[in-house]
Symmetry: C2
Subunit: 562 residues, 2 copies
Amino acid sequence: MHAHLTPNDVTAMFLALSVLLGGAKLVGELAQKIDQPAVLGEILAGILLGPTVLGNLAPRVYATLFPSMGVIPIVIDSVTTIGVVLFLLTAGIEVDLSSLFRQGKCAVLVSSLGVLCPFSLGWAAAWSFPRFFGAEPGADRLNFALFVGTALSISALPVIAKILMDLKLFRSDLGTVVVSSAMFDDLVGWILFSVVLGMMNAGAQPTNIKHTIILTLLFVILMLTAGRWLVDKALPRIQAHASWPGGVLGFIFTLTLAAAAFTEYAGIHAIFGAFIMGIALGESSHLRKQTREHIHQVVTNVFAPLFFASIGLRINFATHFSLGVTATVFAVACLGKVLGAGLGARLGGMDRRTSIAVGMGMNARGAMEIILGLLALQLGLIRERLFVALVVMALLTSLISGPAIHYLLQRRRAVSLKDSLSSKLFLQNLFARNRLEAIRELCELSAEAVGDSSDRLFRIVRERELISGSGLENGVAVPHARVNGLAKPVVAVGKSDDGIDFDARDGKRARIIILVLTGDTQSQIDLLADVGDLFSRQDTIDQALTARSFVEFMAAVNAPVK
Amino acid sequence: MHAHLTPNDVTAMFLALSVLLGGAKLVGELAQKIDQPAVLGEILAGILLGPTVLGNLAPRVYATLFPSMGVIPIVIDSVTTIGVVLFLLTAGIEVDLSSLFRQGKCAVLVSSLGVLCPFSLGWAAAWSFPRFFGAEPGADRLNFALFVGTALSISALPVIAKILMDLKLFRSDLGTVVVSSAMFDDLVGWILFSVVLGMMNAGAQPTNIKHTIILTLLFVILMLTAGRWLVDKALPRIQAHASWPGGVLGFIFTLTLAAAAFTEYAGIHAIFGAFIMGIALGESSHLRKQTREHIHQVVTNVFAPLFFASIGLRINFATHFSLGVTATVFAVACLGKVLGAGLGARLGGMDRRTSIAVGMGMNARGAMEIILGLLALQLGLIRERLFVALVVMALLTSLISGPAIHYLLQRRRAVSLKDSLSSKLFLQNLFARNRLEAIRELCELSAEAVGDSSDRLFRIVRERELISGSGLENGVAVPHARVNGLAKPVVAVGKSDDGIDFDARDGKRARIIILVLTGDTQSQIDLLADVGDLFSRQDTIDQALTARSFVEFMAAVNAPVK
């Protein structure tokens, strides 16, 4: 008879997962509201729910939610491991091999210097001051130094991927260089670590190391050549003969789980296999957009947040914290990585600003260091204070990575309609019967927000309107004008069931009238373009028309961008 | 420090999940090829991979794939439990409460008689012959009889839901009656079982029973009234203010996990909470089709198969098998359920054939009996042979349920284009320059399959073609004719890069020419309707046009039906 979860275990499992997911999504959404990548909010949610904060403030609640004994830790570990593996599958699918090859030279430079610099710095520092860094008294000095060097040089592929996705830079040249370099880094880092592990476990280690290296190289080469070809041949056959999309989804997930098992067996982490498998799948032109979309949405919005939040559950950051060690580890790690990877990018031909951005991107650490650190802790190589320092370093580097890239590559952020709407400036039913009445009604509504008299507003909007009608197609009109001295755009929306003639080219009466008032021409262009873009989609128009409240209108405007 | 999975555990976990999923999908697809619901193939895959077959033929392979010691059983149990909970969420979303209320009287009759009959029969049989049925020597006779009665009366909501979905009957009146009755059944069954459990555990049992009943009723009533209302208010707000569709997906999954935790805590199974939550979510008009689709596809095609396959892993069906007990349990269970539920449906106003179909639908058992049986086994109430008999009964009833409904409700199955295509009757490039040449070319290709001379075929197709051109819109033409004595339709496809004028209404030259030859008018209408339907979608046409082989053409035809 196999072991089973008891009803208590099942209750505890669903409770823990629900709190973890709910917390991660909530803080993740809040992070996005202040222009931070969701992943940072998700990690922060884990720290809040973990031993550091909740475990400290309300230990009983914490112990009930996330018991440290029994099967729940194992269950959470397995669910979040599956989560990160599936996340790497979607990250892999998004990788575009052809642009990766185009970036080849640069990626090789970035990754090799990005590993070499932090590795040497970390190795030298740990070799010189092993006691300070927190080597276990009995640990071998060389091994310890090798471990620290390795731990400082691995980039966090999943964190980087999420940051780049959140910043919409994943498929850019910068994103491709960073991700492909991080991939090489990972590979090198894991091989280095398996060497360290091998040297620690006296015995048959050289075989194991060779084993890992050979299996990994074979896997990568085979998957990106023969595997890719086979997947490309298999996909249309499955789509032709199996149920749709069930057959394809089953095929993709089965292959991913198998690849994860194989790379974990080979001695590197399961996520590496899922990532390579994702690349092989994503390269096939037969993988339909709809299939990608199903996997991407459920995985990045449900499984990935569970994983990122779970990092914070693993450790109490307060009790094992040493400022000196943490600051030193952080400084050495950043210095080595940003200098190394940045130099690589510069040598690879990127401009100075972008090179630093690449360095900052590669600087993000995360899950890998934590897993590595955990193994080293369990094997008696390092002490808790170094482990905590590694985790804090990983989190801080992840934390500054997004904002730094955002700052370095700062481009003018376009003003969007969504951000300019407000429930106060929304009229469900206009009384107006013609366009000038409609404009007057909306100007009266907006006067307070603009800080000007409604008469003056009406005059300037009417003047513009009479030059040429502001009716777009499909029953949308955008009367607009520049109002000198207006710092922030003011947008008022009115709906008319009967429709009002705004002289549209398609002759349709406008049923959604959007008054756009801006202080500068650039914002005006941004907003008009955004309106034109949004309301070119029939489903958005239909939803906006049937909206019975501001909230429903917002939901329509916030609809999927396909 | 929390417990963690070792690298070996991670390898074993992904290996086991990959084999389980791959096996389930493979046998599931094969089952669909012979017109059986996929779920039966998925359960069968589990039995093949489990102790019964693989464990017997290749015990070492089996022990490597699915070790019975260590953490892997716990991990598989938790992943598959999450799988079935998510599956019940999608089943709940699909339930249409308004049609459920319309079926109210019938559903109440079906479910109450459908519980009462098998319960009384099972109770009486077990009370009369406890030793024969496999009561543990020390077990209380009354408790044992109550348990057997309960175990025979619960219908398997997930299995029934999957069978009805597979047969495309889920949203029909029959489906709604069966599913809502199964839901009531579940509720009553779990309450009965908690009573049995309470009577077994001497002590504070009456409180626990009351507890379960009160909490469950409160949960159901609150969720389907206030909960439903709150969800309907919350959804547009989340869609308006959170990221899309991430916010909504996070909200749905968080609520589902929380509801699962609550009902498991209340003393009934976690899947019940997920199901009720699904109903509350599905009732909201603000839940977008795309969101449903993402959840539905990933869950029913990846997580549900994992669960259904895992049932077969739980037990060796060979060693603990007793034909006498199994046959008796099976006979009593079927008799009670089909008679009871069928009678209920008849009294509820359904015709005789449909009533028997309802009885056969309700007769499907599955996970619930197995979980129940397992608990009873662990508590020392029953012996292995009764447990195996219950499992076999559950599987057999599930196995006959689909085909029986299919047989009872047999409607003419429409002939589909997809099933009529063949690689032998496919021409990537027609030589023809005009429509008569094209028809001749396709007739020559088809002559062997039809068993007639190509000249005669050409004559009758030309005759029909010249009455009115067979060009549809968007570059598709369907020359067709009736060929007397043709048992099975013959369909030949030819493509023309330059296009051939088939006198289409939109004036476009046909680039896909589909020759349809049938023995009867009904098949001809079916096939022409299918072609018209398929090729009204621009993406299907585009894919079919760019197809470079028969397999790619099939993939286009087999595209998503939206």
